[in-house]
């Protein structure tokens, strides 16, 4: 039996990126919502709710990026130059918000600066990720194993729209996270914000789904021809189901459910994009088999991934479990 290593790796990388999107998504979302919570005591709790886990969340981004270089070098070598400006913007945003976690507690006078760094950096990173997603969906031309488009190709109305959509979606993850993790007036405010963010996310998903098929015949065929058209029925139904769970969770004060339902929305949206793309890794120029590194590389790293990824999931869950439950506003920083 021949094992299709590129396919397995495509699944692992897809998983890493998904893990990144939903995990860093909520902590970026908390940053995006920062300006809406002007009170210091609220901000302290918001920050504390994500401080113990943000670094682990962001490591999935390193796995998604670094892993791409190892297993799909051609994709890494064409996508990143094509998305040069958004990637740099994302990195700079991540710097500002990443250091804010520590800096914010090291100063009284300049704390407002690092509040802005946290909010602005989170917003910039989310926007840049969304723009990068949009630019990828539009397609990236490749010739002679190199990106062959222009330096501003990434900037289109569509990519700006996806950029904003991701900001909105992350804000939803962030607000439902706060509903789950906080108490008192902070939680109540997050709860009202969650309603708004949920509606906005649903609208954004709708626009995205209607717009995408018309960008590229491949996507149109995928969604409107048999047998894959089945997904066109199933995915929207599941989305509505998650949406219903989210709203009823908010309404009935089931504080964990909205967050879990929001994760569901993200997973469905992500699956939808995956269905559109397959089998391309750089749409619509490079397939996962064109981009794959030789089997010696894929096999060698796969051994490690099969052993280490379950371990990582185990101790990461443990770390989340240690900090389970609502954040105690009295518990300060380290």
């Amino acid at each position: 039996m021949v094992i299709d290593l590129p396919f397995i790796w495509a699944a692992i990388i897809a998983f890493a990126v998904l893990a990144y999107v939903i995990l860093d998504g909520f902590d970026l979302g908390v940053g995006i919502l920062f300006p809406l919570f002007p009170e210091k005591r609220h901000r302290d709790v918001m920050m504390n709710s994500v401080a113990p886990v943000w670094d682990g969340n962001e490591t999935w981004l390193v796995l998604g990026g670094g892993g791409l270089m190892a297993v799909f070098p051609l994709a890494y070598a064409t996508i990143l130059p094509a998305l040069y400006a958004p990637i740099i913007a994302m990195l700079l945003g991540l710097i500002f918000r990443g250091v804010a976690f520590e800096y914010r507690w090291r100063t009284g006078r300049a704390q407002y600066l690092w509040n802005w760094a946290f909010a602005g950096g989170s917003f910039m990173a989310a926007l840049a990720q969304g723009i990068a997603l949009g630019a990828l969906v539009q397609g990236i031309p490749v010739a002679n194993r190199a990106y062959s488009g222009g330096w501003w190709d990434w900037l289109t109305p569509f990519s700006i729209a996806t950029g904003l959509a991701v900001v909105i979606g992350y804000a939803l993850l962030g607000s439902t996270w706060l509903v789950m993790k906080t108490t008192g007036d902070l939680r109540d405010k997050a709860r009202s914000l969650s309603y708004i963010a949920a509606l906005a996310t649903l609208a954004a998903m709708g626009v995205f789904s209607l717009w995408t098929p018309f960008l590229e015949p491949l996507y149109l065929n995928r969604w409107f021809s048999w047998p894959t058209a089945i997904f066109s029925v199933i995915v929207p139904l599941l989305v509505l189901g998650c949406f219903w769970l989210l709203l009823t969770g908010l309404k009935n004060n089931r504080d964990s459910r909205p967050f879990l339902a929001a994760l569901g929305l993200f997973i469905l949206g992500y699956a939808g994009i995956g269905i559109s793309f397959y089998p391309y890794i750089v749409p619509t120029s490079v397939t996962i088999w064109d981009a794959a590194a030789p089997d010696e590389s894929l096999g060698f790293l796969l051994v490690g991934a099969l052993i280490l990824v379950p371990l990582i999931l185990a101790y990461t869950s443990y770390a989340y479990w240690v900090f389970r439950g609502k954040v105690d506003p009295e518990e300060g920083y380290h």
Binding site: V71, V99, L301, V309, Y333, H334
Partner: protein, 472 residues
């Protein structure tokens, strides 16, 4: 604005700039993570509060340094794709998996347990908390192992083949990972990280010994740091010497540049101590040299012949002046560290370790020396590898992304501004934390009698009242 530069040069400048900032943080946090593990272990073992207090003091500093290491590192892992895409496409199949293992086996481990280490003291028991600290320390060492293996493979590549797409493909993973320069580089770099940390801890200890406000804690850390320095500095010099011999075998041109040997010496080469490399004329002006010593060091024989750069075409020579100077800075600082270690040993023997103000001042001056030596060492290594990225196989000029100079130039400017702002502020906060010992009023606990009884740290019996202190 950037039309006059070529994209390759800008991409090199960007890489050098960002990686130089990045390495500063790991160099410190690798050593500090181990130091924290030792402090916590001592606290659990001996139950002397001073260890716990030192742990909390350094933990806050560690959190800052580590955060800066993480955000500057993420930039590195994306930069290969944005600026060095051709390199990534060609070399990805070989060094990509090594970096993949680094993420899977080290980065997740550090990140997963860092939260518990920083915030979890009163949520998990002391044993588990210590375990978390250990995992963070082990994670930093695993991380160094993989990334240095990748870097060493670029210096001394082996165990690969080429495919029809022009990619390097792995033929023998064992040979790739354990390439000839890897063991030397790993030892040299980990020792460098420990020395860097020892010097910083020593400087902070020295500062507070001079201030006389917290003699027990300052004395304890000063003594620990000086032991580390005294023991590791000579080992590092020996390791560096072995490293150089290995480099001579695998990258002789780099050694010629370090030594400043423009000419071949058929019957014994001199050791050039100082001089001004004149690359255009291919000679060292005003050289101060010791005859035949270089042959003795490198070949263990006074008259052994050594080839010079006159055997290497100009376009395959690295920029000699940079390598020549950076090597001397590193070696000079190495001997200065040895000197400080020996001096502290002498003072310890004369029971003046905690009172010799000149020693404390010297330790403070040497505080940043580790960082400078680490940077100088990396410059020697990396600039000495030029004009190749994969030594002997892939030229730097053929590694760069087909990207416009304007794009690289603007991102370079953005990185420079942001790094100086952000890491400048971080360095300021770290220095401020360092100068505030004790940071916490409860830190005075049990120090009164010691201060009156003299400032030699004595075994210290006070233990904490249960629950008297939390991780914040």
């Amino acid at each position: 604005m950037f039309e006059t530069f070529d994209a390759t040069l800008l991409a090199r400048m960007q890489f050098a700039f960002t990686v130089s900032f990045h390495i500063i943080f790991p160099a410190f946090s690798i050593g500090l993570a181990s130091y924290l593990a030792v402090l916590e272990g001592l606290w659990l073992w001996k139950k002397q509060v001073v260890y716990l207090e030192l742990f909390d003091f350094w933990k806050t500093i560690f959190a800052l340094a580590f955060g800066m290491g993480v955000v500057s590192g993420i930039v590195m892992s994306y930069q290969f794709g944005t600026n060095w895409s051709v390199f990534s496409d060609k070399v990805g199949p070989v060094i990509g998996p090594l970096m993949g293992y680094e993420v899977l086996s080290a980065f997740f481990l550090e990140a997963g347990f860092l939260g518990i280490m920083l915030f979890g003291r009163n949520r998990v028991g002391p044993g588990l908390h210590f375990f978390a600290t250990l995992m963070v320390a082990v994670g930093t060492l695993i991380s160094a192992t993989w990334i240095l293996s990748a870097n060493s493979w670029m210096q001394t590549p082996q165990g690969f083949a080429m495919n029809d797409k022009g990619q390097f493909i792995p033929a023998d993973w064992w040979a790739v990972i354990f390439n000839p320069s890897f063991p030397y580089r790993l030892v040299h770099m980990v020792l460098a990280a420990y020395l860097t940390t020892a010097l910083v801890v020593g400087a902070v200890g020295g500062l507070h010994l001079l201030r006389r406000t917290a003699p027990l804690r300052a004395g304890t850390m000063f003594s620990m740091a000086m032991w580390m320095l005294t023991i590791v500095a000579p080992i590092q010099i020996f390791a560096g010497d072995q490293h150089g011999l290995n480099t001579l075998e695998h990258q002789p041109v780099k050694v010629m540049a370090m030594e400043g040997h423009y000419q071949s010496h058929p019957d014994g080469a001199p050791l050039i101590l100082f001089g001004l490399p004149n690359h255009a004329e291919q000679r060292i002006d005003y050289a101060i040299e010791i005859p035949k010593l270089s042959s003795l060091i490198l070949k263990h024989s006074l008259d052994a012949p050594l080839k010079g750069l006159d055997t290497v075409p100009r376009e395959l020579q690295p920029p000699v002046p940079i390598v020549f100077w950076s090597f001397r800075i590193m070696v000079g600082l190495g001997f200065a560290m040895l000197g400080l270690g020996l001096w502290s040993l002498y003072c310890r023997w004369r029971r003046r370790l905690y009172t010799s103000e000149w020693l404390h001042r010297a330790a403070m001056i040497m505080g940043p020396a580790g960082f400078v030596a680490v940077l100088a060492g990396w410059v020697t290594t990396e600039v000495g590898r030029q004009p190749y990225t994969v030594y002997g196989h892939l030229l730097t000029a053929n590694s760069v992304s087909p990207i416009a100079a304007a794009a690289v130039g603007s991102s370079l400017v953005a990185f420079i501004i942001v790094y100086f702002l952000v890491f400048g502020a971080g360095t300021f906060y770290i220095l401020r934390l360092m100068s505030r010992l004790p940071r916490d009023p409860s830190g005075d606990l049990g120090e009164g009698p010691i201060r009156t009884a003299g400032i030699t740290p004595a075994p210290h019996a006070a233990t904490l009242p249960a629950g008297g202190r939390h991780g914040h």
